[in-house]
Amino acid sequence: MNWILIAMVLALLIPIYEVWKDENIWQKMLAFASIASKTSVMILVVSVLRDDWMIGVVGVIILSVGNAGLMLLAHVIKRMNTL
């Protein structure tokens, strides 16, 4: 089942390349949201592969709570652009 995780790492490299190349701040924020979701789904896949419930609970918490920081950062950047 390792090929699933290797394919997910390859999919994770696409937004990393995007955040490296694109200069627009909102494109970087989109790539950040994509990477945050992809990494937490990868944590869930690893927990299912190893049958480890502790990692699974951590993956669920990161997937549900981790994007709150993204929203706060987006508000600060939006206010910077309007001023």
């Binding site: 290797i6 790539a31 990161i62 706060l72 001023l83």
Partner: protein
């Protein structure tokens, strides 16, 4: 634990850390710091440290990014003191048309462009009269002042620089002297009495 995908996932961590190191714009660096936190949480979870991953995701990514975003936003600012009567009406509907004929709006746009080059944000602070504007510059409430020069200071034939821009910050004076291309202002440097506030 000795799976081959572990090495590939761990290799993502120095990759995102290098991207964070070469970034010069502070706001872009904040976004990449969030990406580094997400990748680090993934690496910790894959290596079996679930508690460290949870702490990294909640504190390292969310709290650190929010606090440093507030710090960057409040410190990277250039406060420009102006007079209220010289202020062009920003809320006007025909703003783009006014910008073309008003030289003061041109000057503000030039100042904003040279500040944006150094990732600074320009904040306009209006004052009622020239005395309070001068006092605000001395008391370090603003970094730069920009006023219209009175016409009797020199002869009318030589009046090609109708505005006077004064700064009390040495580094801002150097930046504006090399980059401000507007011919409508004269730039001077004023030494303020030393103090804590900047």
């Amino acid at each position: 634990m000795n799976d081959s995908y572990v090495y590939i996932i761990i290799a993502l961590l120095p990759l995102s850390a290098l991207m964070l190191m070469v970034q010069v714009n502070p706001y872009h660096a904040l976004v990449i710091r969030g990406i580094l936190g997400a990748v680090a949480a993934l690496v910790y979870a894959v290596l079996g440290a679930a508690d460290v991953a949870l702490t990294e995701a909640l504190v390292g990514t969310m709290l650190a990014i929010t606090l440093s975003a507030v710090a960057v936003r409040s410190s990277l600012v250039m406060r420009l003191g102006i007079l209220e009567d010289g202020l062009p009406n920003v809320e006007d509907e025909s703003k783009t048309e006014r910008e073309q004929d008003c030289p003061f709006a041109h000057l503000i746009a030039d100042l904003r462009a040279s500040a944006n080059k150094h990732h600074l944000r320009l904040e306009l602070v209006p004052y009622a009269d020239p005395q309070s504007l001068q006092r605000a510059l001395i008391e370090k409430e603003v970094h730069v002042t920009c006023v219209q020069r009175s016409p009797h200071q020199e002869s009318e034939s030589e009046d090609v620089q109708p505005y006077q821009t004064t700064t009390r910050v040495r580094r801002l004076y150097e930046i504006l002297q090399t980059e401000l291309s507007s011919p409508t202002t004269r730039l001077t440097y004023m030494t303020a009495p030393s103090g804590e506030k900047h």
